[in-house]
């Protein structure tokens, strides 16, 4: 009897440890938030291109995380990406002409939505859609633009260069 109780205790300890480890993995190293206060409101933004934005990406204002990207969908009528932004209810006075742009954190970091405040007197409310947006910058597009502009310059300067 005594021995079986000792077995129970260490088995219980083992199972507890196992579940604690699972809990640690789920809450501490993923970007999922299990906050008790789930007060938040939602905004919808439409983008031509969201780059590598993912659900769960942070929404930041002046560098402070104020919410998360809740979901990303594609509208077959508009041919645009529909991004639902979930913002903490504490930040309820964001002017309703603020713009939501997609930025990249660091050179190789993940992408996030940055909100720049506008000048409007009225604040965003639940379900509003964001009018001013800026798409993610796609590196390939930038490079090709740069190359094409360089090619144009080269043609102009080709004639004088030949004379030298």
């Amino acid at each position: 009897m005594r021995q079986s109780r000792a077995i129970d205790v260490s088995t219980g300890l083992f199972v507890l440890l196992g579940f604690a480890a699972i809990l640690f993995l789920v809450t501490q190293i993923t970007n999922r938030e299990f906050s008790l206060r789930s007060d938040s409101y939602r905004l919808v933004a439409q983008y031509e291109n969201i780059g590598g934005l993912k659900a769960g990406a942070p929404i930041s204002m002046a560098g402070v995380t104020i919410g998360r990207v809740e979901s990303i969908g594609y509208d077959m009528n508009l041919f645009k990406a529909i991004v639902t932004l979930r913002i903490d209810a504490r930040y309820d006075a964001i002017p309703n002409d603020s713009d939501a742009s997609i930025y990249t954190a660091g050179l190789l970091g993940g992408q996030y939505v940055g909100i720049t405040p506008g000048n409007s007197e009225d604040a965003y409310r639940d379900g509003d859609s964001v009018e001013f947006v800026q798409d993610a910058i796609v590196l390939e597009n930038l490079i090709s633009k740069y190359l094409f502009s360089q090619a144009g310059k080269d043609k102009e300067s080709a004639a004088p260069a030949a004379q030298e």
Partner: protein, 256 residues
């Protein structure tokens, strides 16, 4: 030439025979499982045997795997000037591959061999036949509880292994090599998704089923001699390792 061909077909036939036998065995074990789960005490004992007793080796190995990962990862990432990605890289590789696979290999070595040799010895000393004589079903009393204990213990061991290994990565990367703690964790959190954790746990459960099944099958069907028990134990480790790695590829391909 003909002899070689004959040997080949012979070993192929033996392989198919064993595959068939273990599949039938798996069916029997699954069939008996619900009834055994009602007598949970037997299962708890086996969770203790396979899980709690493997804890020390799992945690020690996890710590060192994590520390090596921190060292190697830091050395590699340093070349690209992105040491901060160490957390992301370590967490993803641990969750998706290293955690479940190394845990399964250790599990096969620690718990699988114990199960196989225990059952093999029971077979060799006619304890299993004695149970049958006493109208006690050895499948239900001995085999299935051991199988279920392993299946329950394996995912928990996997989670513990990964958590301890992450602590090891953090120990070497942040404390020793000076990666910034804030970006270490925040980049990790930014990149790791719940699906990655699930992938690790699904692999843990699958490997648990595979390794436990192989161990009890080999033990239960061991030749009733000292040599036979030894061979069953060896085969348990070898087959478990191969099956784990093959299953790992299949699961990765399915979930990627």
């Amino acid at each position: 030439m003909i002899g070689l061909l004959g040997e080949l077909t012979d070993s192929l036939r033996r392989f198919l025979e064993r595959l068939g036998a273990i599949t039938r065995f798996f069916g029997q074990v699954l069939w008996q499982s619900p009834a055994v789960l009602l007598r949970f005490r037997l299962v708890v004992e086996q969770v203790y045997n396979t899980g709690a007793l493997s804890l020390v080796i799992i945690m020690t190995c996890g710590l060192f795997v994590g520390m090596v990962l921190g060292l190697q990862g830091h050395d590699l990432l340093q070349r690209f000037g992105s040491e901060e990605a160490l957390g992301t890289g370590a967490a993803l590789s641990l969750l998706k591959e290293l955690g479940p696979v190394v845990t399964a290999l250790l599990f096969a070595g620690r718990a699988g061999t114990a199960l196989a040799s225990e059952l093999g010895l029971m077979r060799a000393t006619d304890q299993l036949s004695a149970m049958e004589v006493m109208a006690v079903d050895p499948m239900r009393r001995v085999v299935v509880p051991r199988f279920l204990g392993g299946v329950i213990a394996m995912p928990l061991l996997t989670a513990i292994f990964i958590a301890v290994a992450l602590f090891g990565v953090q120990l070497v990367g942040v404390q020793l090599l000076g990666v910034d703690q804030g970006s270490f964790w925040s980049q990790m959190r930014g990149a790791v998704e719940l699906a990655d954790v699930n992938e690790g746990l699904i692999k843990g459960v699958t490997f648990g089923i595979a390794c436990s099944l192989i161990a009890v099958f080999e033990g239960y069907n061991a030749e009733p001699t000292a040599e036979g028990v030894g061979r069953a134990t060896t085969r348990t480790v070898v087959i478990s390792a191969v099956v784990t790695l093959v299953l790992d590829y299949i699961l990765t391909a399915l979930m990627l």
